[in-house]
Amino acid sequence: MDYFAQQLINGLVLGSIYGLIAIGYTMVYGIVGMINFAHGDIFMIGGFIALISFLVLVSLGLTAIPLILLIVLLVSMAITALYGWTIERIAYRPLRHSFRLAPMLSAIGMSFVLTNFSQVSQGARVKPVPPIITGGYTLHEGAQGFAVQLSNIQIMVVLATIVVLALFTWLVSRTRLGRDMRACEQDQTMAALLGVDVDRTISMTFVIGAALAAVAGMMYLLYYGLVDFFMGFVAGIKAFTAAVLGGIGSLPGAMLGGLAIGLIETFWSAYFSVEYKDVAAFSILIVVLIFMPTGLLGRPEVEKV
């Protein structure tokens, strides 16, 4: 039982990170109808910016960890959001009314650009940081000396995910911007006719998606303690899978999909073999898609006439 609880914690934390990235995929798909393949790399950029701003702050002589973390979070969200905005502006917007595959190809190209950009500008080496947030709690001491451990950084990852998700749900359902986004999702032409600035709304979608990816990047940096220029690829694929599993276009679906993938991977490694954890995750994805083609929470797409 204790063992199960420990693995549950491991899976939830991993799933939270996947979910945070998956939201970015699902949001862009919901509104523009394209898969933003560069999103995994935006996440990587977010991790790097968090690392750089962290090092700058430390070298400036700041020692208060909570203050540093807050500044790092804000800085990396802001700069990564700028990346998201720029990419949409130069790579996607000019192609928006082109044929359907054009922005997707442009996104794949953008993904290469970002990977190579950070490889050249930051070097190809793995960039480690020493553990910043240490310590944790022993939740339960088992009979055979097995202690269920919950570390502070795990608490922080899950908390950050919950806060971000809550903020974001509020933004979509309660604000003017959210209403514009939902309008664009349903019908861009009609939304434009009714006075919604479609271009601006789509830009904001990318900005918010990138900011969320930056949060994920920073959590990743703190949790695993390193970033490298190719980490966006695998994380991006996993998060994309999570978005599809949850039902692409659905916000709670992305989070649910992320948690599902994280939990499947963890429990498969826990009770079967570690070697086949990716096989397990993707097999379950296929099974789910056979029986629920639109994913766990996806709505069947209505053909627009």
Partner: protein, 372 residues
């Protein structure tokens, strides 16, 4: 007008330089992971090779010619290693010091054999490298069957009756080393409690760490590279697990400690007796120190590979790979690592491994020095 002339002059000079390079120099190569997660070792190899070439040229070169060095990046990827090998082969380079990862060295060696290139690896320890009866391969480091023996010996002595888990990363090197260690342990009548593999490149090992915790593992032996080993260690400590981690020679870079932080303390690994402490290495170590480079890990091994080749070329009077290899296997060579002789397969005759331990300050030292 003046600037045009200058450009002309510079162009002329550079042409002259490259022309002379073409006519005079012997180009040799160092190949290894200059990028990617193993790039710390690629850097060690490049540092060693550059210093060796500089020193050899300062002493007058070989066969009356100077050496020029080319560094190639395989990113520890077998496909890329193979294509680099073909490139090196087609540009008539007679000698390559490389590669680092066994999974790169082995496929590359076949391309080198076809193109008449002599290959000495400073670092690939998988037994298979020299076991395939290829004429063109040699290594200046040890083999994993010997390394596994030393690791098993240490485990038998210090962890007898305790729970041991063996993990590997499914690479040629990692799996090979884990298998050899397991074989040696089982032969000595010791049964490991868990034998698992993970994917190289994974970042999340929490699940496997919880398994170690459930099975009360006292020592986890990792056949793999330093990045994954570092992450496993870090996640063990995060889960409150004080299990000792032991691994092979791919841990001998300070980068390991920068991944783990102070958690590195107590981690064990096997490697040759510290080359930096050998009397033959003293002067060269000073040269590195003056450049602010710590010649750790495989730096001096790469240096030695360069020395062996250069001395054999001088003795054979040719750079023809077949003749040079015959010469190498027939003689004894003075290297920075001491006297070195090779057997018919291309392995060095005297091999010994020792166990190292990391301390809290991010340094590692031998724990049972036997001398060289």
């Amino acid at each position: 007008m003046k600037s045009l002339k200058l450009i002309g002059l510079a162009l002329g000079a550079s042409f002259a330089l490259s022309a002379s390079a073409f006519a005079q120099d012997i180009t040799i190569a160092v190949a290894g992971p200059m990028t990617g997660s193993e790039s710390a070792f690629g850097r060690q190899m490049k540092n060693g090779a550059e210093q060796a070439v500089a020193d050899i040229n300062a002493a007058g070169g070989v066969l009356g010619k100077k050496l020029a060095l080319e560094a190639d990046d395989d990113a520890c990827d077998p496909k890329q290693a193979r294509s680099i090998a073909e490139k090196i082969g087609s540009s008539k380079i007679p000698f390559v010091a490389g590669h680092f990862c066994s999974s790169s060295s082995i496929p590359a060696s076949e391309a080198y054999a076809d193109a008449n290139v002599l290959q000495i690896t400073p670092a690939s320890t998988n037994p298979l490298f020299t076991e395939r009866k290829l004429w063109n391969v040699a290594r200046v480091c040890g083999r994993d069957d010997q390394q596994g023996l030393v690791a098993a010996d240490y485990i038998m002595k210090s962890f007898k009756g305790k729970n041991v888990a063996i993990l590997n990363d499914k690479t040629t090197y990692g799996k090979g080393l884990a298998d050899e260690t397991k074989k040696a342990l089982n032969k000595a009548g010791f049964q490991e409690k868990m034998f698992e593999s993970y994917n190289k490149g994974d970042k999340d090992f929490n699940s496997i760490v919880s398994r170690l915790k459930r099975d009360n593992i006292d020592l986890v032996y990792v056949g793999g590279y330093h990045q994954e080993a570092g992450l496993i260690l870090r996640q063990m400590r995060d889960q409150g697990l004080q299990t000792v981690l032991m691994a092979g020679d791919a841990m001998n870079d300070k980068e390991f400690a920068s991944i783990t932080g102070p958690a590195a303390e107590g981690t064990l690994f096997t490697f040759g007796p510290d080359p930096r402490n050998k009397p033959t290495a003293k002067a060269i170590v000073e040269k590195f120190k003056a450049k602010n480079i710590d010649p750790e890990g495989y730096t001096l091994y790469t240096y030695a590979a360069m020395q062996v080749w250069t001395q054999a070329v001088a003795k054979a009077g040719t750079t023809d790979a077949k003749k040079v290899m015959e010469t190498i296997k027939a003689g004894d060579w003075d290297t920075v690592l001491g006297k070195m002789g090779f057997d018919a397969k291309g392995d060095i005759k005297a091999i010994d491994y020792v166990v190292y331990k990391w301390d809290a300050k991010g340094n590692y030292t031998e724990i049972n020095p036997k001398g060289s």
